[in-house]
Symmetry: C2
Subunit: 196 residues, 2 copies
DNA sequence: AATAAAACTTATCAATGACAAGATATCGCC
DNA sequence: GGCGATATCTTGTCATTGATAAGTTTTATT
Protein backbone atom coordinates (compact mmCIF):
# COMPACT_ATOMS: atom_id res chain seq x y z
CA UNK A 1 0.00 0.00 0.00
CA UNK A 2 2.68 2.43 1.01
CA UNK A 3 4.56 1.15 -1.95
CA UNK A 4 1.63 1.78 -4.21
CA UNK A 5 1.41 5.34 -3.05
CA UNK A 6 5.13 5.78 -3.55
CA UNK A 7 4.89 4.42 -7.04
CA UNK A 8 2.01 6.68 -7.86
CA UNK A 9 3.86 9.66 -6.56
CA UNK A 10 6.97 8.68 -8.46
CA UNK A 11 5.18 8.05 -11.71
CA UNK A 12 3.18 11.16 -11.12
CA UNK A 13 6.33 13.20 -10.93
CA UNK A 14 8.35 11.42 -13.60
CA UNK A 15 7.22 9.92 -16.81
CA UNK A 16 3.68 10.83 -17.42
CA UNK A 17 4.65 13.82 -15.43
CA UNK A 18 1.48 13.53 -13.41
CA UNK A 19 0.47 17.08 -13.66
CA UNK A 20 1.98 18.37 -16.80
CA UNK A 21 -0.92 20.71 -17.20
CA UNK A 22 0.09 22.76 -14.16
CA UNK A 23 3.75 22.43 -15.04
CA UNK A 24 3.13 23.88 -18.48
CA UNK A 25 1.17 26.76 -17.02
CA UNK A 26 3.99 27.45 -14.60
CA UNK A 27 6.56 27.33 -17.39
CA UNK A 28 4.46 29.63 -19.53
CA UNK A 29 4.10 32.10 -16.70
CA UNK A 30 7.81 32.05 -15.97
CA UNK A 31 8.64 32.74 -19.60
CA UNK A 32 5.94 35.36 -19.75
CA UNK A 33 7.21 37.43 -16.88
CA UNK A 34 10.88 36.93 -17.72
CA UNK A 35 10.83 37.52 -21.45
CA UNK A 36 7.45 38.93 -22.37
CA UNK A 37 4.52 37.72 -24.42
CA UNK A 38 6.50 37.21 -27.61
CA UNK A 39 8.45 34.45 -25.84
CA UNK A 40 5.28 32.45 -25.34
CA UNK A 41 5.76 29.93 -28.11
CA UNK A 42 4.49 26.41 -27.89
CA UNK A 43 7.99 25.07 -28.34
CA UNK A 44 9.56 27.45 -25.84
CA UNK A 45 7.02 26.54 -23.19
CA UNK A 46 7.31 22.76 -23.65
CA UNK A 47 11.10 23.07 -23.82
CA UNK A 48 11.09 24.95 -20.52
CA UNK A 49 8.97 22.19 -18.99
CA UNK A 50 11.28 19.51 -20.35
CA UNK A 51 8.75 17.75 -22.57
CA UNK A 52 8.27 17.39 -26.29
CA UNK A 53 6.68 20.13 -28.33
CA UNK A 54 3.46 18.20 -28.87
CA UNK A 55 2.95 17.33 -25.21
CA UNK A 56 0.61 20.22 -24.63
CA UNK A 57 -1.98 19.01 -27.11
CA UNK A 58 -3.87 16.55 -24.86
CA UNK A 59 -4.22 19.23 -22.19
CA UNK A 60 -4.85 22.39 -24.13
CA UNK A 61 -5.45 21.50 -27.75
CA UNK A 62 -3.31 24.29 -29.12
CA UNK A 63 -1.31 27.33 -28.11
CA UNK A 64 -4.37 29.54 -27.82
CA UNK A 65 -5.88 27.01 -25.44
CA UNK A 66 -2.82 27.06 -23.23
CA UNK A 67 -2.64 30.83 -23.16
CA UNK A 68 -6.37 31.04 -22.47
CA UNK A 69 -5.91 28.80 -19.46
CA UNK A 70 -3.06 31.00 -18.28
CA UNK A 71 -5.18 34.12 -18.74
CA UNK A 72 -7.92 32.39 -16.78
CA UNK A 73 -5.65 32.01 -13.76
CA UNK A 74 -4.84 35.67 -14.13
CA UNK A 75 -8.49 36.67 -13.95
CA UNK A 76 -8.97 34.42 -10.95
CA UNK A 77 -6.02 35.96 -9.15
CA UNK A 78 -7.20 39.45 -9.92
CA UNK A 79 -10.71 38.71 -8.72
CA UNK A 80 -9.31 37.15 -5.55
CA UNK A 81 -7.18 40.23 -4.91
CA UNK A 82 -10.09 42.55 -5.57
CA UNK A 83 -12.70 40.84 -3.50
CA UNK A 84 -11.46 41.73 0.00
CA UNK A 85 -11.15 45.43 -0.77
CA UNK A 86 -14.45 45.97 -2.52
CA UNK A 87 -16.13 47.20 0.66
CA UNK A 88 -13.37 49.67 1.38
CA UNK A 89 -14.07 51.75 -1.68
CA UNK A 90 -13.29 52.60 -5.25
CA UNK A 91 -9.93 54.16 -4.50
CA UNK A 92 -8.60 51.11 -2.69
CA UNK A 93 -9.98 48.73 -5.29
CA UNK A 94 -8.49 50.79 -8.07
CA UNK A 95 -5.08 50.67 -6.44
CA UNK A 96 -5.31 46.90 -6.09
CA UNK A 97 -6.24 46.59 -9.76
CA UNK A 98 -3.34 48.70 -10.94
CA UNK A 99 -0.89 47.08 -8.54
CA UNK A 100 -1.84 43.66 -9.83
CA UNK A 101 -1.13 44.87 -13.35
CA UNK A 102 2.23 46.36 -12.44
CA UNK A 103 3.37 43.31 -10.50
CA UNK A 104 2.21 40.89 -13.21
CA UNK A 105 2.63 42.95 -16.36
CA UNK A 106 2.91 40.02 -18.74
CA UNK A 107 -0.02 38.15 -17.30
CA UNK A 108 -2.21 41.23 -17.15
CA UNK A 109 -1.38 42.09 -20.74
CA UNK A 110 -2.13 38.55 -21.85
CA UNK A 111 -5.53 38.69 -20.16
CA UNK A 112 -6.60 41.35 -22.65
CA UNK A 113 -4.89 40.09 -25.81
CA UNK A 114 -7.88 38.83 -27.72
CA UNK A 115 -5.73 37.86 -30.68
CA UNK A 116 -3.69 35.23 -28.87
CA UNK A 117 -6.26 33.90 -26.43
CA UNK A 118 -9.60 32.29 -27.22
CA UNK A 119 -12.43 34.39 -25.87
CA UNK A 120 -14.83 31.56 -26.55
CA UNK A 121 -13.02 29.39 -24.01
CA UNK A 122 -15.57 28.60 -21.30
CA UNK A 123 -13.40 28.81 -18.18
CA UNK A 124 -11.84 31.99 -19.45
CA UNK A 125 -15.18 33.61 -20.14
CA UNK A 126 -16.38 32.60 -16.69
CA UNK A 127 -13.31 33.96 -14.91
CA UNK A 128 -13.43 37.12 -16.96
CA UNK A 129 -17.07 37.62 -16.10
CA UNK A 130 -16.27 37.09 -12.43
CA UNK A 131 -13.68 39.85 -12.53
CA UNK A 132 -16.13 42.06 -14.34
CA UNK A 133 -18.71 41.32 -11.69
CA UNK A 134 -16.37 42.77 -9.07
CA UNK A 135 -16.70 46.11 -10.78
CA UNK A 136 -20.46 45.94 -10.56
CA UNK A 137 -20.33 45.17 -6.87
CA UNK A 138 -17.88 47.98 -6.36
CA UNK A 139 -20.13 50.56 -7.94
CA UNK A 140 -23.07 49.11 -6.04
CA UNK A 141 -21.23 49.86 -2.82
CA UNK A 142 -20.49 53.42 -3.75
CA UNK A 143 -22.27 55.91 -1.53
CA UNK A 144 -22.13 59.09 -3.52
CA UNK A 145 -24.41 58.49 -6.45
CA UNK A 146 -24.33 61.13 -9.10
CA UNK A 147 -27.96 61.23 -10.17
CA UNK A 148 -27.33 62.78 -13.57
CA UNK A 149 -25.08 59.92 -14.64
CA UNK A 150 -25.99 56.41 -15.69
CA UNK A 151 -24.89 53.57 -13.49
CA UNK A 152 -23.32 52.02 -16.57
CA UNK A 153 -21.56 55.28 -17.27
CA UNK A 154 -20.08 55.36 -13.79
CA UNK A 155 -18.97 51.77 -14.09
CA UNK A 156 -17.39 52.36 -17.47
CA UNK A 157 -15.69 55.50 -16.24
CA UNK A 158 -14.18 53.80 -13.23
CA UNK A 159 -13.12 50.67 -15.06
CA UNK A 160 -11.73 52.68 -17.95
CA UNK A 161 -9.66 54.89 -15.70
CA UNK A 162 -8.24 52.03 -13.69
CA UNK A 163 -7.63 49.86 -16.72
CA UNK A 164 -6.11 52.66 -18.74
CA UNK A 165 -3.71 53.57 -15.96
CA UNK A 166 -2.69 49.94 -15.69
CA UNK A 167 -2.04 49.61 -19.42
CA UNK A 168 -0.17 52.89 -19.68
CA UNK A 169 1.91 52.12 -16.61
CA UNK A 170 2.93 48.72 -17.96
CA UNK A 171 3.98 50.24 -21.25
CA UNK A 172 6.10 52.79 -19.42
CA UNK A 173 4.05 55.59 -20.89
CA UNK A 174 3.48 57.22 -17.53
CA UNK A 175 7.19 57.47 -16.76
CA UNK A 176 7.58 60.87 -18.41
CA UNK A 177 4.93 62.18 -16.01
CA UNK A 178 6.98 61.20 -12.98
CA UNK A 179 9.51 64.02 -13.30
CA UNK A 180 7.78 67.32 -13.85
CA UNK A 181 9.51 70.64 -13.22
CA UNK A 182 12.39 69.27 -11.16
CA UNK A 183 10.12 67.37 -8.79
CA UNK A 184 10.28 63.58 -8.88
CA UNK A 185 7.58 61.28 -7.65
CA UNK A 186 7.19 57.52 -7.56
CA UNK A 187 4.88 55.67 -9.89
CA UNK A 188 2.94 54.50 -6.86
CA UNK A 189 2.36 58.09 -5.77
CA UNK A 190 1.32 59.15 -9.23
CA UNK A 191 -1.22 56.35 -9.47
CA UNK A 192 -2.51 57.07 -6.00
CA UNK A 193 -3.02 60.66 -6.99
CA UNK A 194 -4.54 59.82 -10.35
CA UNK A 195 -7.04 57.49 -8.74
CA UNK A 196 -8.47 60.09 -6.32
CA UNK B 1 9.27 65.53 -73.62
CA UNK B 2 5.72 64.50 -73.12
CA UNK B 3 6.90 61.05 -73.82
CA UNK B 4 9.60 61.35 -71.22
CA UNK B 5 7.07 62.37 -68.64
CA UNK B 6 4.84 59.51 -69.63
CA UNK B 7 7.69 57.09 -69.32
CA UNK B 8 8.65 58.42 -65.94
CA UNK B 9 5.11 58.18 -64.75
CA UNK B 10 4.83 54.70 -66.11
CA UNK B 11 8.08 53.46 -64.61
CA UNK B 12 7.23 55.23 -61.40
CA UNK B 13 3.95 53.44 -61.11
CA UNK B 14 4.98 50.08 -62.48
CA UNK B 15 8.27 48.39 -62.12
CA UNK B 16 10.17 50.10 -59.41
CA UNK B 17 6.75 50.97 -58.21
CA UNK B 18 7.78 54.51 -57.52
CA UNK B 19 6.37 54.80 -54.09
CA UNK B 20 6.27 51.33 -52.79
CA UNK B 21 6.77 52.67 -49.32
CA UNK B 22 3.35 54.32 -49.24
CA UNK B 23 1.80 51.40 -51.10
CA UNK B 24 3.05 48.97 -48.46
CA UNK B 25 1.71 51.16 -45.68
CA UNK B 26 -1.65 51.31 -47.39
CA UNK B 27 -1.69 47.54 -47.86
CA UNK B 28 -0.75 47.00 -44.25
CA UNK B 29 -3.48 49.30 -43.08
CA UNK B 30 -6.08 47.62 -45.28
CA UNK B 31 -5.14 44.21 -43.93
CA UNK B 32 -5.05 45.58 -40.42
CA UNK B 33 -8.57 46.96 -40.42
CA UNK B 34 -10.01 44.07 -42.42
CA UNK B 35 -8.44 41.14 -40.66
CA UNK B 36 -6.80 42.38 -37.50
CA UNK B 37 -3.27 42.63 -36.25
CA UNK B 38 -2.51 38.94 -36.59
CA UNK B 39 -2.89 39.30 -40.37
CA UNK B 40 0.00 41.76 -40.48
CA UNK B 41 2.70 39.43 -41.76
CA UNK B 42 5.50 40.59 -43.95
CA UNK B 43 4.45 38.18 -46.67
CA UNK B 44 0.75 39.04 -46.45
CA UNK B 45 1.51 42.75 -46.77
CA UNK B 46 3.87 42.41 -49.71
CA UNK B 47 1.51 39.94 -51.39
CA UNK B 48 -1.33 42.44 -51.02
CA UNK B 49 0.86 45.09 -52.61
CA UNK B 50 1.83 42.78 -55.46
CA UNK B 51 5.56 42.67 -54.78
CA UNK B 52 7.97 40.06 -53.55
CA UNK B 53 8.30 39.29 -49.88
CA UNK B 54 11.69 40.95 -49.57
CA UNK B 55 10.64 44.18 -51.24
CA UNK B 56 9.97 45.89 -47.95
CA UNK B 57 13.54 45.62 -46.75
CA UNK B 58 15.01 48.68 -48.47
CA UNK B 59 12.22 50.84 -47.08
CA UNK B 60 11.65 49.51 -43.59
CA UNK B 61 14.42 47.05 -42.78
CA UNK B 62 12.11 44.50 -41.20
CA UNK B 63 8.52 43.90 -40.18
CA UNK B 64 8.85 45.85 -36.96
CA UNK B 65 10.10 48.80 -39.00
CA UNK B 66 7.10 48.69 -41.28
CA UNK B 67 4.65 48.40 -38.40
CA UNK B 68 6.40 51.20 -36.57
CA UNK B 69 5.96 53.44 -39.59
CA UNK B 70 2.30 52.51 -39.71
CA UNK B 71 1.90 53.24 -36.01
CA UNK B 72 3.61 56.56 -36.62
CA UNK B 73 0.93 57.60 -39.11
CA UNK B 74 -1.62 56.59 -36.50
CA UNK B 75 -0.13 58.89 -33.89
CA UNK B 76 0.02 61.69 -36.44
CA UNK B 77 -3.63 61.23 -37.34
CA UNK B 78 -4.68 61.13 -33.73
CA UNK B 79 -2.71 64.25 -32.90
CA UNK B 80 -4.22 66.00 -35.92
CA UNK B 81 -7.72 65.04 -34.80
CA UNK B 82 -7.05 66.14 -31.24
CA UNK B 83 -5.49 69.48 -31.96
CA UNK B 84 -8.58 71.43 -33.05
CA UNK B 85 -10.63 70.41 -30.01
CA UNK B 86 -8.06 71.01 -27.31
CA UNK B 87 -9.43 74.44 -26.54
CA UNK B 88 -12.96 73.19 -26.23
CA UNK B 89 -12.23 71.09 -23.19
CA UNK B 90 -11.39 67.73 -21.73
CA UNK B 91 -14.76 66.18 -22.49
CA UNK B 92 -14.64 66.98 -26.19
CA UNK B 93 -11.01 65.92 -26.49
CA UNK B 94 -11.75 62.68 -24.71
CA UNK B 95 -14.57 61.91 -27.10
CA UNK B 96 -12.32 62.55 -30.07
CA UNK B 97 -9.68 60.24 -28.62
CA UNK B 98 -12.12 57.42 -28.04
CA UNK B 99 -13.84 57.92 -31.37
CA UNK B 100 -10.53 57.69 -33.17
CA UNK B 101 -9.89 54.39 -31.41
CA UNK B 102 -13.29 52.98 -32.26
CA UNK B 103 -13.11 54.00 -35.89
CA UNK B 104 -9.55 52.72 -36.30
CA UNK B 105 -9.45 49.83 -33.86
CA UNK B 106 -6.61 47.96 -35.52
CA UNK B 107 -4.43 51.00 -35.97
CA UNK B 108 -5.06 52.25 -32.45
CA UNK B 109 -4.25 48.86 -30.99
CA UNK B 110 -1.07 48.66 -33.03
CA UNK B 111 0.05 52.05 -31.74
CA UNK B 112 0.33 50.59 -28.26
CA UNK B 113 1.66 47.11 -29.06
CA UNK B 114 5.21 47.52 -27.87
CA UNK B 115 6.04 43.93 -28.74
CA UNK B 116 5.50 44.26 -32.48
CA UNK B 117 6.62 47.84 -33.04
CA UNK B 118 10.02 49.34 -32.32
CA UNK B 119 9.75 52.00 -29.65
CA UNK B 120 13.30 53.09 -30.43
CA UNK B 121 12.22 54.15 -33.91
CA UNK B 122 12.86 57.89 -34.17
CA UNK B 123 9.80 59.02 -36.15
CA UNK B 124 7.56 56.85 -34.02
CA UNK B 125 8.95 58.25 -30.80
CA UNK B 126 8.52 61.77 -32.14
CA UNK B 127 4.93 61.23 -33.23
CA UNK B 128 4.12 59.49 -29.99
CA UNK B 129 5.58 62.37 -28.01
CA UNK B 130 3.54 64.81 -30.07
CA UNK B 131 0.34 62.99 -29.19
CA UNK B 132 1.40 62.91 -25.58
CA UNK B 133 2.05 66.62 -25.74
CA UNK B 134 -1.59 67.17 -26.67
CA UNK B 135 -2.56 65.83 -23.29
CA UNK B 136 -0.29 68.29 -21.57
CA UNK B 137 -1.77 71.19 -23.50
CA UNK B 138 -5.23 69.93 -22.70
CA UNK B 139 -4.61 69.90 -18.96
CA UNK B 140 -2.93 73.28 -19.23
CA UNK B 141 -6.15 74.67 -20.65
CA UNK B 142 -8.29 73.28 -17.88
CA UNK B 143 -9.80 75.97 -15.73
CA UNK B 144 -10.83 74.13 -12.63
CA UNK B 145 -7.57 73.21 -10.97
CA UNK B 146 -7.87 70.89 -8.06
CA UNK B 147 -5.17 72.22 -5.79
CA UNK B 148 -4.78 69.07 -3.73
CA UNK B 149 -3.85 67.03 -6.77
CA UNK B 150 -0.64 66.95 -8.74
CA UNK B 151 -0.70 68.20 -12.28
CA UNK B 152 0.85 64.90 -13.30
CA UNK B 153 -1.85 63.09 -11.37
CA UNK B 154 -4.58 64.92 -13.23
CA UNK B 155 -2.91 64.24 -16.56
CA UNK B 156 -2.49 60.57 -15.77
CA UNK B 157 -6.08 60.33 -14.57
CA UNK B 158 -7.50 61.89 -17.69
CA UNK B 159 -5.29 59.97 -20.10
CA UNK B 160 -5.88 56.75 -18.24
CA UNK B 161 -9.63 57.12 -18.33
CA UNK B 162 -9.78 58.00 -21.98
CA UNK B 163 -7.27 55.37 -22.99
CA UNK B 164 -8.86 52.69 -20.88
CA UNK B 165 -12.29 53.36 -22.32
CA UNK B 166 -10.84 53.16 -25.81
CA UNK B 167 -9.12 49.86 -25.15
CA UNK B 168 -12.12 48.30 -23.44
CA UNK B 169 -14.49 49.52 -26.14
CA UNK B 170 -12.34 48.04 -28.90
CA UNK B 171 -12.20 44.70 -27.13
CA UNK B 172 -15.99 44.71 -26.81
CA UNK B 173 -15.69 44.62 -23.06
CA UNK B 174 -18.07 47.53 -22.61
CA UNK B 175 -20.87 45.87 -24.55
CA UNK B 176 -22.33 44.14 -21.49
CA UNK B 177 -22.75 47.57 -19.91
CA UNK B 178 -24.96 48.79 -22.74
CA UNK B 179 -28.03 46.85 -21.71
CA UNK B 180 -28.73 47.27 -18.02
CA UNK B 181 -32.12 46.54 -16.50
CA UNK B 182 -34.08 46.53 -19.72
CA UNK B 183 -32.75 49.88 -20.87
CA UNK B 184 -30.50 49.91 -23.92
CA UNK B 185 -28.06 52.65 -24.77
CA UNK B 186 -25.60 53.17 -27.59
CA UNK B 187 -21.88 52.85 -27.09
CA UNK B 188 -21.55 56.47 -28.03
CA UNK B 189 -23.95 57.48 -25.25
CA UNK B 190 -22.18 55.30 -22.73
CA UNK B 191 -18.81 56.83 -23.57
CA UNK B 192 -20.26 60.32 -23.49
CA UNK B 193 -21.63 59.62 -20.05
CA UNK B 194 -18.47 57.93 -18.82
CA UNK B 195 -16.35 60.88 -19.91
CA UNK B 196 -18.30 63.48 -17.93
C1' DA C 1 27.72 57.37 -71.80
C1' DA C 2 29.71 54.98 -67.91
C1' DT C 3 29.79 53.93 -63.38
C1' DA C 4 27.73 53.87 -58.78
C1' DA C 5 23.78 53.24 -55.99
C1' DA C 6 19.37 51.98 -54.93
C1' DA C 7 15.15 49.03 -55.61
C1' DC C 8 13.43 44.70 -56.30
C1' DT C 9 13.46 39.38 -57.15
C1' DT C 10 14.84 34.78 -56.33
C1' DA C 11 16.46 31.23 -53.49
C1' DT C 12 17.54 29.61 -49.15
C1' DC C 13 17.67 29.17 -44.04
C1' DA C 14 16.23 28.31 -39.30
C1' DA C 15 12.20 28.37 -36.56
C1' DT C 16 7.32 28.00 -35.71
C1' DG C 17 2.37 25.64 -34.80
C1' DA C 18 -0.21 21.83 -36.13
C1' DC C 19 -0.93 17.15 -36.85
C1' DA C 20 -0.59 12.02 -37.87
C1' DA C 21 1.39 7.80 -36.35
C1' DG C 22 3.52 5.24 -33.04
C1' DA C 23 5.15 4.04 -28.24
C1' DT C 24 4.15 3.84 -23.35
C1' DA C 25 1.91 4.39 -19.18
C1' DT C 26 -2.62 4.52 -16.53
C1' DC C 27 -7.30 3.13 -15.61
C1' DG C 28 -11.61 0.41 -15.63
C1' DC C 29 -13.43 -3.91 -15.61
C1' DC C 30 -13.57 -8.77 -15.08
C1' DG D 1 -4.20 -9.61 -10.44
C1' DG D 2 -4.18 -9.19 -15.18
C1' DC D 3 -6.09 -7.50 -19.65
C1' DG D 4 -8.08 -4.49 -22.82
C1' DA D 5 -9.34 0.41 -23.53
C1' DT D 6 -7.87 4.97 -23.05
C1' DA D 7 -5.14 8.85 -22.24
C1' DT D 8 -0.48 10.73 -22.33
C1' DC D 9 3.64 11.70 -24.50
C1' DT D 10 7.32 11.25 -28.41
C1' DT D 11 8.89 11.29 -33.04
C1' DG D 12 8.68 12.78 -37.54
C1' DT D 13 6.71 15.65 -41.00
C1' DC D 14 4.42 19.62 -43.28
C1' DA D 15 3.21 24.28 -44.64
C1' DT D 16 4.24 28.83 -43.34
C1' DT D 17 6.83 32.54 -41.43
C1' DG D 18 10.74 36.51 -41.11
C1' DA D 19 15.28 37.20 -42.32
C1' DT D 20 19.17 37.36 -45.40
C1' DA D 21 22.57 36.67 -49.23
C1' DA D 22 23.20 36.85 -54.13
C1' DG D 23 21.77 38.30 -58.43
C1' DT D 24 19.12 41.43 -61.70
C1' DT D 25 17.14 45.66 -63.20
C1' DT D 26 16.18 50.38 -62.74
C1' DT D 27 17.54 55.10 -61.37
C1' DA D 28 21.02 58.66 -60.07
C1' DT D 29 25.48 60.85 -60.52
C1' DT D 30 29.07 62.72 -62.95
Amino acid sequence: MGLQVMERQKSKKNYHHGDLRSALLRSARALLEQQGISALGLRAITRHAGVSSAAAVPHFGNLAGLLSALATTGHEELAAALEPVLEIGAHAAGLVYVRFAIHNPGLFTLMFRSDVIDRGDRPLAAASARTSHMLTRLIGNMTDHQPQRTRSGIRAAHWGKVHGLAVLAIDGLLDPLLSSQGEDMSLEDLLDDALR
